[in-house]
């Protein structure tokens, strides 16, 4: 689904209201996860940070968004602290469960709450990184653990997408 067809209202880690229109106009790289994730999420955010470093100045044109699938624990404050440890371009988005469901649906991303021992829970979730062009059109995904030599050219493809229709 193109970003232009999506409908959701979330809050970024600085407390700003955000929606699909926040992303349209610039290419977008987005990832779903949660801050209580010890393995996949910090790894992917580190990978994203590395790709952004590789892109250098080009990275400044990108929206980079980390969207929580665990809004119960990932408040705006939790997201703000978490993203501060990674590349400064990365924005953290959270919001009501129903709105998280809508953005995940729009992205065709899946997530599921899984109880663990002792009353805790973890989240299964799509670990791919999504890329959209500036006009909001879906370009491609970077799969988990895809080598950097494949990831960075994919991001460049999103950067070079037609900006037609964008403001």
């Amino acid at each position: 689904m193109a970003l232009t067809e999506m409908d959701f209202r979330l809050t970024d880690h600085e407390g700003n209201e955000v929606g699909p229109e926040t992303l349209i106009g610039r290419p977008t790289m987005a990832f779903f996860g949660f801050t209580y994730c010890p393995d996949v999420c910090p790894t992917t955010l580190s990978d994203i940070s590395g790709w952004l470093d590789d892109l250098g100045d080009e990275a400044k044109q990108l929206n980079v968004v980390f969207i929580t699938v665990d809004p119960e624990r990932d408040t705006v404050e939790a997201m703000a602290e978490y993203v501060s440890y990674f590349h400064p371009a990365i924005r953290g988005w959270t919001g009501p469960e129903g709105q998280i469901a809508r953005i995940a649906d729009g992205f065709r991303a899946a997530y599921e709450r899984v109880p663990t021992e002792g009353g805790d829970y973890t989240m299964n979730h799509t670990a791919s990184v999504f890329l959209f062009g500036a006009a909001g059109r879906f370009v491609t995904m970077i799969d988990y653990h895809e080598p950097r030599e494949f990831a960075v050219p994919k991001i460049r493809r999103a950067l070079e997408e037609e900006t037609e229709g964008a403001t």
């Binding site: 010890p38 996949v40 790894t43 580190s46 602290e81 899984v114 002792g118 299964n124 799969d143």
Partner: protein, 155 residues
């Protein structure tokens, strides 16, 4: 007492030997290399540690569990990513390592999941992690705590 001395030795080896941390103990012929972990934010979130476990002996060894003063519920976990790209984590169960073989605990695969932290994991510090084997043998390794955004033992 014995444990404390060994930890000290390991810390020294870590300092002088770089990334390779020989952790020979008792009857288990196992060497742990390139151990590392990420700093935590507070104590509510679980941590994860990574390393390569090498069986240097002539007999198979079977890793059955972990113990550490850092976490009440340390467990070997495995992250799996399915064909749809969805990642999930679960207990890995026993891990058999054939003679001469090694098992890598690395991001996106096997990891030492550190649940119920007893203290925050602070960058620059280390913590002892004991690997428990089926025959009762134990190997303790001192795990360096790197930054939250660390990608590997060299970060």
């Amino acid at each position: 007492m014995k444990k404390i001395i060994m930890t000290g030795t390991l810390a020294a080896l870590l300092t002088f030997g770089g990334l390779s941390v020989p952790a020979l103990a008792g009857p288990v012929d196992v060497v742990v290399e390139s151990a590392w972990s990420r700093a935590s934010i507070g104590m509510n979130r679980p941590g994860a540690a990574y390393m390569t476990i090498r069986n240097t002996g002539d007999e198979p060894v079977t890793l059955i569990g972990l113990s550490t003063p850092l976490a009440m519920m340390p467990e070997i976990h495995e992250t799996k990513t399915n064909a749809e790209g969805v990642s999930s984590m679960s207990a890995a169960g026993e891990i058999a390592i054939a003679p001469g073989e090694s098992v890598a605990l690395e991001p996106g695969g096997l990891h030492a999941m550190l649940m119920r932290l007893q203290q925050p994991m602070t960058e620059g510090e280390t913590f002892p992690l004991t690997l428990l084997f089926v025959d009762g043998g134990e190997v303790t390794v001192e795990v360096p705590i790197l930054g939250i955004a660390a990608r590997g033992p060299e970060d």
